[in-house]
């Protein structure tokens, strides 16, 4: 449809702009890959030689275009630090970050829906008040602080996991998922709290509507009313939040990976920026941007499906 074409068009343009800006930034900031590789043994001659070799001396636009050409064709370039194709390097790391994101997201959905429904049902009773307060508390905790606390309580005190002992999927799948559970939960809790808040107030809005009373008078059980009718309508504002959450989780994985020593995409991004490993940084930023934009569009689409009356332009 024309709509999809238009959206795809903007997606591409946005990505172009982002990649260009990143490329620009890399050329302005001090230091480059050659210098980074040579370190304190660098002399001016050696640096220049390595720059030639790595192709860093070519003019700005030709480098950008050649990178772009390669990228479109599926070739993400070579990592200067590791001398292996970028695709190879980041696919493994992305797996890890995506695993954590999915685990966190499952946690969020699994917990925020029942809790929100429950508190909406018990609106303003003591239970609701307490949970709402706890909610607010959890929303105020920075994810990494939660991570530090979890490390302290469950890692050092109760010792049910080894902080820092990340185990890769190849070594032991069970352990891999077990270890990733902790950072995922750390990331998920603040988001769950926020999700509960939004869903709850949305449900409470729904409660006031006429069709709820109508359904009740028809003899539907509360469970059915809340779980089916209300939820379907109330969930709309939360959808945006959840979509952004996924993007947020990936983007903020940098910090949580640092707390738990996980070699994921966030860590790689930070070290690649430090090493001026341009190709890696570009690839990661673009992929993250794609995810964010696609999430946005997905939400717009969802809106359209759920309620065709909503005009997407506004």
């Amino acid at each position: 449809m024309k709509y999809i074409l238009k959206k795809t068009g903007f997606l591409v343009i946005t990505l172009l702009v982002i990649s260009f800006i990143t490329f620009l930034a890399f050329n302005i900031i001090p230091g480059d890959a050659a210098l980074s590789k040579l370190g304190t043994e660098a002399t001016v001659d050696q640096v220049n030689m390595l720059r030639e070799e790595l192709g860093l001396n070519a003019p700005f636009f030709s480098r950008y275009l050649s990178w772009l050409g390669g990228f479109i064709g599926g070739d993400f370039g070579i990592s200067f630090s590791y001398m292996i194709p970028v695709k190879e390097l980041i696919s493994g790391k992305f797996m890890i970050t995506i695993t954590m994101t999915i685990m966190a997201f499952v946690f969020i959905i699994l917990f925020s829906i029942p809790i929100a429904v429950f508190t909406a049902y018990k609106e303003n009773k003591i239970v609701d008040r307490v949970i709402t307060f706890l909610n607010q508390l959890f929303m105020s905790i920075p994810g990494f602080f939660l991570g530090i606390l979890i490390t302290f309580i469950f890692g050092l005190t109760f010792k049910i996991f080894m902080p820092g002992a990340y185990i890769s999927m190849q070594e032991n799948i069970g352990q891999y998922f077990y270890y990733l559970l902790f950072p995922s939960v750390a990331m998920a809790i603040p988001k769950t709290a926020m999700g509960v808040k939004i869903l709850r107030s949305s449900l409470i809005e729904e409660k006031k509507k006429r069709y709820v009373r109508a359904a009740r008078s028809r003899g539907n059980s509360n469970l059915r009313i809340y779980g089916v009718y209300m939820l379907k309508n109330a969930v709309i504002p939360v959808l945006t939040f959840w979509a952004m959450t996924i993007a947020d989780l990936i983007a903020n994985s940098v910090i949580i990976e640092r707390v738990f020593s996980i070699p994921g995409i966030g860590t790689l991004l930070v070290s690649s920026i430090a090493n001026r490993d341009f190709a890696v940084v570009q690839a990661i930023i673009i992929i993250i941007a794609v995810i964010i934009i696609v999430m946005n569009y997905l939400v717009d689409l969802l809106y359209k499906i759920i309620d065709p009356r909503i005009d997407l332009k506004n």
Binding site: T14, P142, I148, A251, I255, A289
Partner: protein, 264 residues
């Protein structure tokens, strides 16, 4: 019912007040010089002398937390101001005028929005150097899109409102309509967004200083204090816990407060 609402308000208000007060007092005087090192007090546990204990250099953590809190407050506040101010202008223009201008500006908005704030800040800082001013700039820019979007949808909502139409009929200038007629209606939403924005800005600042971007040592910064103390978690957990707790209480206080203000 009414009484219970006030209860939250009070707690949030008191918490916020206490924290801000502490920070303001901290501007003039702290129990100890936050940067003064004292080998004898290295890692001392919380005591009467040092309420929050001491860090690896024997510096008083309570004093450092007050100073660090000041930075966090500053960054959070300025970030929201920048985001709100420019976001409002952007949203007003695009919402009111619409058309091609709207399309283009919104696309640019989306581009900036797609850049996670942390990454934006990382690149910014590498470009311009790590100092508080640049952090505020970077985060401020990262916050503009969300403000712009919200303001824009509000403006679109009101663009066709009756009172606006009648103002137009009376030949009231466009700018006047913007500021005098529409703006006051948007204020509540703006404030609510600003409150949430403030919380996010504080979290973002903490995250960034945790990663090592932002305030230079030896000056205190809550996130950095937590990052440095992670190594000592098993010997001196208070080094990491108190800065974190302070952030939590700051955000909690403000959000409870703004929550209840919104309800009214």
């Amino acid at each position: 019912m009414h009484k219970k609402k006030l209860k939250i308000n009070k707690f949030g208000a008191i918490l916020s007040f206490v924290i801000v007060l502490m920070i303001i007092i901290g501007i003039f005087a702290t129990p100890y010089d936050p940067n003064k090192m004292d080998a004898a007090s290295k890692f001392s546990a919380p005591s009467i002398n040092h309420i929050f204990g001491c860090d690896q250099f024997g510096r008083d953590i309570f004093s450092r937390v007050l100073v660090g809190g000041r930075t966090t407050l500053l960054v959070g506040g300025c970030t929201v101001l920048i985001g709100a101010f420019f976001g409002m202008i952007l949203g007003a223009i695009t919402g009111f005028i619409g058309g091609i201008v709207d399309e283009i500006l919104m696309r640019i908005n989306d581009v900036v929005a797609s850049f996670p704030s942390i990454l934006l800040a990382l690149v910014f800082i590498s470009l311009l150097g790590p100092n508080t001013g640049n952090v505020i700039l970077a985060l401020g820019i990262a916050f503009i899109p969300s403000f712009a979007r919200i303001v824009r949808s509000e403006f679109i909502k009101y663009k066709d409102a009756d009172f606006v139409k009648s103002a137009k009929l009376m030949k009231v200038g466009k700018i006047r309509i913007l500021f005098v007629h529409i703006m006051p209606n948007i204020m509540p939403t703006m404030l609510a967004t600003a409150a949430i924005g403030f919380n996010n800005a504080v979290l973002a600042e903490a995250g960034m200083s945790y990663l090592g971007i932002g305030v230079m040592p030896p000056d205190a910064s809550l996130g950095r204090m937590m990052s440095e103390s992670q190594a000592y978690l098993s010997v001196a957990p208070w080094c990491a816990i108190f800065p974190g707790l302070f952030i939590v209480l700051m955000i909690l206080g403000f959000s409870l407060l703004s929550e209840s203000l919104n309800r009214k």
